[in-house]
């Protein structure tokens, strides 16, 4: 019988991503309730050193799958590495982050394993009879669903970054590290990454940012985003934009928040010159705190924000930057 809860431990630039710790912490509670072990799986090349990071967040074991062809993420390489290991050990549940990688990898893995996958979940848990289920937004958050699974295993779920809360790490907790060999030949990887183009100045991805400062039609022009960047700097935030600002060509599509852009749930979302259309709200409505700065008193966003300032953003935003700078100094 399938046993064990697994978490695909995502890493980049030599460190384990925070979403992995968020999932491990929540999965630990489930593992304790159903009496199964919690394992992390790290796939890559020369990544063994990362294994020690998973124990403090609750992992009992860490499988380390290394191969030089796994140095860079490819759908086919990682799918093979992960599915081969799953077939061998048959965990009951397999979790991972709903990240750029997770959104590519998990659907492929689920199809190969012929099992169920719920994506972009905002909560995971057990029902009264200890059956695993998840909660996830649909219609860009205009509705939510509780989703259950058929008997096929592993039951798979990808979890939205920034929604589960990581436990404080227990550094005395050590996980057993198990190195695993995988056979991958060049023929296995048909879609090859030939180049990675970095967009200069783009900080942490919006979906993983804890603070977002966003601008809309009220920004009036590309050059005016400078004041948002300055505010973002003191808040350690990532800058986003509404569809209106993207369509006007002031910001990149990758910076768009909303139903046809990115769905985000930061701790703090500062909306500047954004009216709060239903499509925009669908992309940021789960933010913990929403601040609206808009000179239009009729803007619908004032009915849905935690704090609103009805004034000219070009006056308020620079002052806010100053005030926060002052506060942070104290």
């Amino acid at each position: 019988m399938a046993k064990g809860i697994w978490v695909f431990a995502e890493h980049s630039d030599g460190s384990v991503r925070k979403v992995t710790f968020e999932i491990l912490s929540e999965a630990r509670k489930i593992a304790d309730k159903i009496g199964e072990e919690l394992c992390a799986v790290i796939v890559g090349n020369q990544v063994e050193a990362l294994a020690d990071k998973c124990g403090p967040y609750g992992a009992d074991k860490v499988y380390v799958v290394e191969h030089e062809m796994l140095n860079q993420y490819t759908t086919e390489g990682y799918t093979k590495a992960l599915t081969d290991l799953v077939k061998q050990h048959q965990p009951s549940i397999l979790l991972g982050g709903a990240t750029v990688t997770g959104k590519d990898l998990f659907p492929r893995v689920a199809a190969r394993l012929e099992t169920g996958l719920a994506v972009d979940c905002t909560d995971i848990g057990l029902d009264d009879s200890n059956q695993f289920f998840v909660k996830r937004p649909m219609y860009a958050g205009k509705a939510y669903a509780e989703v259950g699974f058929s008997d096929a295993t592993p039951k798979m779920a990808s979890i939205r970054p920034n929604v589960l809360i990581p436990s404080p790490p227990d550094e005395s907790r050590k996980a057993e590290v198990i190195k695993v060999a995988v056979e991958i030949s060049p023929d296995d990887i048909k879609a090859k990454v030939v180049e990675v183009v970095k967009i200069a100045g783009e900080k942490l991805d919006l979906t993983e940012a804890e603070v977002i400062v966003s601008g809309g039609r009220g920004m009036k022009g590309q050059e005016n985003f400078k004041i948002l960047e300055e505010l973002a700097e003191v808040l350690n935030a990532t800058v986003g934009a509404s569809r209106a600002a993207v369509d006007a060509g002031w910001k990149l599509q990758s910076e768009q928040v909303g139903q046809t852009g990115k769905v985000v749930s930061p701790n703090l979302y500062v909306a500047c010159g954004i009216s709060g259309a239903i499509q925009h709200f669908a992309g940021m409505g789960t933010s913990k705190y929403i601040v609206a700065i808009n000179k239009d008193p009729e803007a619908v966003i004032f009915g849905k924000c935690d704090y609103g300032i009805c004034d000219d953003l070009f006056k308020v935003v620079p002052k806010l930057t100053e005030e926060i700078k002052k506060l942070k100094k104290d």
């Binding site: 750029v100 689920a110 199809a111 990454v193």
Partner: protein, 264 residues
């Protein structure tokens, strides 16, 4: 260059979504349905490739009778023909059972590229494209913003969005690509296009035509089930911060963010 576009009809982004009181689904009687916006980018890209290389563009759509309207939109844009999986047995499925039916319908067809939207904006699964690629045994590239097919039509260079930039991936064809906003600007259907669309073939496909087990598709073949749906908690309107000057309101806000919300 033969392309297939997997297309879904979904509620318009403007639609207010109301959950039925019993949580069994949404109230769809007063909703305007449209072609999934991300599928439009797929249709446009397939049409651009057809203009360059020749060949045909076929829409494959799984959905109820009303989906014909979205199919006609695609045909009016210039798509040559369509296959409509409109058997109730296909309905109510998850990504797995939906991909299963699509894969069975596509298997016998000729194609170099299959386009899907990066996700359907109703269930937001972003899963059918990769599952379909797996079932057909071909590579996938998701969240695609640029496609360049080689002169001989045998491979493509594809840009895909990643954190902080883009990956450029080379892939032999056939492959599944899922379209992201920014890939192109979808054309509007012209009046002659709309007239022509009326005469184009929409082939209705039932489960018996695909030789599939009814238990493998639709709700019966699904690996996940929606147990219940509910509305998100409504946000209440918060504090409007009053003050004589921008300096005063900004200062009050900064203090609230630190002391009350504790987010800075």
């Amino acid at each position: 260059m033969n392309s297939i576009v997997c297309m879904k009809q979904v509620p318009d982004t403007e639609a207010q979504i109301r959950v039925k009181p019993d949580g069994s689904g949404i109230v769809d009687s007063d909703i305007k349905f449209v072609m999934n916006p991300y599928d439009e980018y797929g249709v446009e890209e397939a049409l651009l490739l057809k203009e360059k290389f020749g060949g045909t563009v076929t829409i494959v759509c799984l959905g109820p009778e009303r989906a014909v309207e979205a199919i006609r939109t695609g045909l009016a844009m210039g798509v040559d023909k369509a296959v409509h999986l409109d058997d109730p047995a296909f309905e109510g499925g998850d990504a797995f059972s939906t991909a299963k039916a699509l894969a069975a319908a596509i298997k016998g067809m000729e194609y170099d590229l299959i386009f899907c939207g990066k996700q359907a904006i109703d269930d937001d699964l972003a899963q059918v494209g990769p599952a379909l690629a797996e079932m057909l045994g071909i590579p996938q590239i998701v969240v695609v913003t640029k496609v360049e097919v080689s002169e001989d039509g045998k491979k493509a260079k594809v840009n895909r969005q990643i954190i902080g930039g883009e990956e450029i991936i080379e892939v032999p064809l056939p492959a599944v690509l899922t379209a992201q906003k920014g890939l192109n600007e979808p054309r509007y259907a012209s009046l002659p296009g709309i007239m022509k669309a009326k005469k184009k073939e929409i082939k209705s496909v039932k489960i018996a035509d695909l030789g599939l087990d009814p238990n493998a598709v639709g709700k019966a073949g699904a690996k996940t089930q929606i147990l219940k749906m509910y509305s998100p908690p409504q946000r209440e309107s918060g504090k409007i911060i009053e003050g004589e000057t921008a300096e005063e309101t900004a200062s009050k806000l900064a203090k609230l963010l630190r002391e009350e919300a504790k987010v800075i």
